[in-house]
């Protein structure tokens, strides 16, 4: 079922560098130590800058918030905080919450002894035992339902979809039970569950393993959805999702697990309902999330060189939209470009377009432009796959046209 899941591991988000990255890509060296693996990775800071990891002392932004261009690059190794990869940040958040609350438990395929297909639950089974980190049979429908039943009766389970796409098999449970049951029970039962897993277009994983399910899930009432994009927000959102009394779907991206970032040592929890200002600007609002954030930041670099000053917002909360942050930006720039990896038809971008038009139409100087993935099953061939998702050059062109 999960044949190809590891291929994306280690692949970079930086398209322009894909050649050099490919040559360095490490395939599944799980036998080796982490540091060995890290050494050969190219790392993208959360502001989208590329950092070659060959010099380990090279700085990364301290957190994912709001740094203009390269101005935040002056951190140093002596800075407080600790550096880790995105999957480690998720793991750290999970572990902290499991330490904090014994009702928090994990269930899914290979989450226990194996440590999760992307190592997000690495070491947890050893620490917390097999029942708290439960390896389930391959039965998405039933173990997701089981998580919901456990949530109804007092636990706070995190259900991992080994690949987000597999959760299509659990769609009924996610929709009818996760989403609706609090309501149909007249508010009697809460479903404090987190459903999470790797999704998005990876590196030639084929159609079924390259799905963006946020568009499928967005119209389910009663569910919150967030997408993480940096180690900092991955950890903070994971912790917030676990603490929420609502069912939350946390979207991770197969190509982002190896992003490295320095994050604070002290505990922090993010808001599930807030967008993240990645780069303040004046000319155009670019709304994006998950992996496309990095394509946008690459384009932003070019745009800045061309004299544009784009404002980049990682919307993070896919449901509900943070229309407060988004609205303020629209009122400032009067132009909106949406860049998403989701499908064109009925995707997050379509919903976002509608919400902005309904609420801020008077502030718009130009129609909203939405760049989405093509409505095709993600092809296997590298070239075709590349043309399926939005590339930085397209973003540059779109902004140029929008700002004419």
């Amino acid at each position: 079922m999960a044949a190809a899941i590891f291929q994306g591991f280690g692949a970079s988000t930086a398209l322009s560098l894909s050649k050099s990255i490919d040559s360095k890509r490490v395939k599944l060296p799980f036998g080796r130590s982490l540091s060995e693996r890290r050494a050969s990775f190219v790392v993208v800071g959360s502001d989208g800058r590329l950092v070659s990891d060959s010099s380990r002392a090279r700085k990364l932004v301290t957190n994912a918030v709001a740094t203009k261009a390269d101005s935040a690059a002056s951190t140093s190794a002596s800075k407080p905080g600790h550096e880790l990869l995105l999957f480690e940040a998720l793991q750290e958040g999970l572990e902290e919450e499991m330490d904090r609350d014994p009702h928090v438990c994990v269930m899914g395929e290979d989450v226990g002894h194996y440590g999760g297909s992307y190592k997000v639950t690495k070491g947890l089974a050893k620490k917390f035992g097999d029942l708290r980190v439960l390896d389930t049979p391959i039965a998405e429908n039933s173990f997701t339902g089981m998580g919901i039943g456990a949530a109804m009766t007092g636990l706070r389970p995190i259900v991992e979809g080994m690949n987000m796409g597999f959760l299509l098999l659990a769609y009924n449970q996610i929709s009818n039970n996760c989403g609706m049951l609090h309501y149909t029970s007249g508010g009697q039962f809460k479903i404090p569950i987190v459903i999470r897993g790797p999704g998005g277009v990876g590196r030639q994983l084929g159609a079924e393993h390259s799905q963006r399910l946020e568009s499928y899930f967005q119209s389910i009432p009663g569910i919150q959805m967030v997408a993480c994009s940096t180690p900092y927000n991955a950890k903070g959102l994971m912790k917030a999702a676990i603490r929420s009394d609502n069912p939350v779907i946390l979207f991770e991206h197969v190509l982002l697990y190896n992003l490295k970032e320095r994050i604070p040592d002290e505990e922090y929890v993010l808001s599930l309902e807030e967008a993240e200002m990645v780069r303040p600007g004046e000319h155009v609002t670019i709304l994006t999330y998950s992996r496309m954030r990095y394509h946008v930041m690459q384009a932003a670099k070019t745009l800045v060189n061309k004299g544009y000053d784009p404002e980049v917002i990682d919307i993070r909360s896919l449901k509900p939209f943070d229309l407060y942050t988004i609205g303020n930006s629209v009122k400032k720039t009067h132009r909106v470009l949406i860049v998403e990896e989701c499908m064109r038809t009925g995707g997050i971008g379509a919903s976002l377009t509608a919400a902005i038009n309904e609420n801020f139409h008077d502030y718009l100087d130009a129609p909203i432009v939405c760049l989405s993935s093509q409505d095709v099953p993600t092809p296997y061939a590298g070239t075709l796959e590349e043309w399926t998702v939005v590339q930085p050059a397209q973003i540059v062109t779109a902004v140029e046209q929008l700002c004419q």
Binding site: P102, H103, C105, G129, L131, R132, T136, P137, A139, N141, S142, F143, T144, G145, M146, G147, I148, G149, A150, A151, M152, T153, G154, L155, N172, Q173, N176, N177, L181, H182, Y183, T184, S185, G186, G187, Q188, F189, K190, I191, P192, P221, G222, I223, Q224, S244, D245, N246, L272, E273, P320, F321, D322, L323, Y324, I326, G327, A355, E358, N359
Partner: protein
């Protein structure tokens, strides 16, 4: 084949179901039923083919089974009514409790049909008439903390579990006093207080939920170290569900982790218009238990005392931490699938046959024959229930419908899901979204 089976049998040998220590079974009541149904032989089925299999020529070819994992409670002991004092299956109090619960279920459902035709309730309404012995036989053995997971045919499970007739009737009337404030309806009955985890309207989806509830019991005992947590979950579902993957997936997980759960199949022989025999390669559902390493039991679902015997054992097993049990209760629904079902496919003779085996009549007979209670006492119960139901209808009718402000309540347990900030106000007033909301 038989060798493999006997090893299975050894693994999951239902020793606890052999009724050495138990009193004589419910044969006194059932022994006189019309022949042709498994219950008519006066025993929990053991080895011989049940009636519905005997009736099917295609199934008969597969007729010799070497494995059984059923109770021979009944088979081994013949009731000796001459012996004194009679070794009865229930005390007077228990007998009357069962009787009252079954009458409650029946009367409630009959009233639902009336109210439906009078336009007081709408949608799909699935009535439980005829199957009362299953709900009563199991649920009356449960504690308040034990969980029940039901299907779309859930009114009577709710009543048996202790949800008031008023709350259930009001829910059906779509009133705010309903057990789910009018937000659930006929197929979505819930009660947190009574640990009724729901009416689940799609086939099979309740089984994973039940498995999760059972997982919580195990988790509380083993991880949270609540040594006294011996809560059991009972999942009810029908014969049609037993061809659905969730059924098998959950049998596997429940047996794998020895979860405290009882899977109760209410085999009423029909999935709307699909005969069980036309849908199922091997119609003996109970046999799927041993295949997963748990006991499978086949019991006459028209005989509440036999159901109760089996339920006692299965629930006890779960409570002791010995794992799940699959119980197939052979029963029959006296009405169509739902009130919208013209019920044209079922043979009138078949219906008449089962109508003659009405579980309430049978229990009444048992009570009377064993002098557990007088006719007057039973009549008094009937009357009391009539009044309860009348009261429920009056209550539901007089209750207010939900107000508009209720519409957006309960969508999220934490209203931040609506984009509501820490100050309790929307972070952005999206008119499409916020209009009509009052207090969330």
């Amino acid at each position: 084949m038989s060798a493999a089976f006997s090893s299975v049998r050894a693994v999951c040998h239902p020793g606890s179901f052999a009724g050495e220590k138990r009193g004589p079974p419910a044969t006194a009541a059932s022994g006189k039923f019309a022949s042709g149904f498994l219950g008519s032989s006066g025993k929990v089925w053991f080895g011989a083919l049940p009636a519905y299999v005997r009736a099917a020529p295609s199934a008969r070819r597969r007729g010799s089974f070497s494995v059984v994992a059923v109770s021979d409670v009944v088979k081994e002991k013949k009731p000796k009514r001459s012996s004194s004092p009679p070794d009865l299956l229930v005390t007077k109090e228990e007998g009357l409790e069962l009787y009252e619960d079954m009458v409650l279920g029946r009367t409630f459902e009959d009233m639902c049909a009336q109210m439906y035709y009078r336009g007081k309730m709408f949608g799909f309404v699935h009535l439980y008439n005829g199957q009362e012995a299953v709900s009563t036989g199991f649920i009356k053995l449960l504690k308040q903390e034990d969980c029940v997971v039901s299907t779309y045919r859930d009114h009577v499970h709710a009543l048996s579990k202790g949800v008031s007739s008023r709350a259930v009737m009001s829910e059906l009337f779509g009133k705010t006093t309903g057990c789910c404030r009018g937000q659930g309806g006929s197929m979505h009955m819930f009660s947190k207080e009574h640990n009724l985890l729901g009416g689940f309207a799609f086939i099979g989806e309740g089984i994973p939920i039940a498995t999760g509830a059972a997982f919580t019991s195990k988790y509380r005992r083993e991880v949270l170290k609540e040594a006294d947590c011996d809560h059991v979950t009972v999942a009810f579902f029908g014969d049609g569900t037993c061809n659905n993957g969730q059924f098998y997936e959950c049998l596997n997980m429940a047996a794998l982790w020895k979860l405290p759960i009882v899977f109760v199949v209410e085999n009423n022989l029909w999935a709307i218009g699909m005969s069980h025999l036309r849908a199922t390669s091997d119609p003996q559902i109970w046999k799927k238990g041993p295949a997963f390493g748990m006991p499978g039991v086949h019991v006459d679902g028209m005989d509440v005392l036999k159901v109760r015997e089996v339920a006692k054992e299965a629930i006890g097993r779960a409570r002791r931490g010995e794992g799940p049990t699959l119980v197939e209760c052979e029963t029959y629904r006296f009405r169509g699938h739902s009130l919208a079902d013209p019920d044209e496919l079922r043979d009138p003779a078949e219906k008449a046959h089962y109508a003659a085996r009405d579980p309430i009549v049978a229990l009444k007979k048992y009570i009377r024959e064993n002098n557990l209670a007088s006719e007057a006492e039973l009549k008094a119960i009937d009357k009391k229930i009539d009044e309860v139901i009348e009261d429920a209808v009056e209550f539901a009718d007089a209750s207010p419908p939900p107000s508009r402000s209720q519409l957006l309540e309960n969508v999220f347990a934490d209203p931040k899901g609506f984009g509501i900030g820490p100050d309790g106000r929307y972070r952005c007033e999206d008119p499409k979204f916020t209009e009509g909301t009052a207090h969330v």
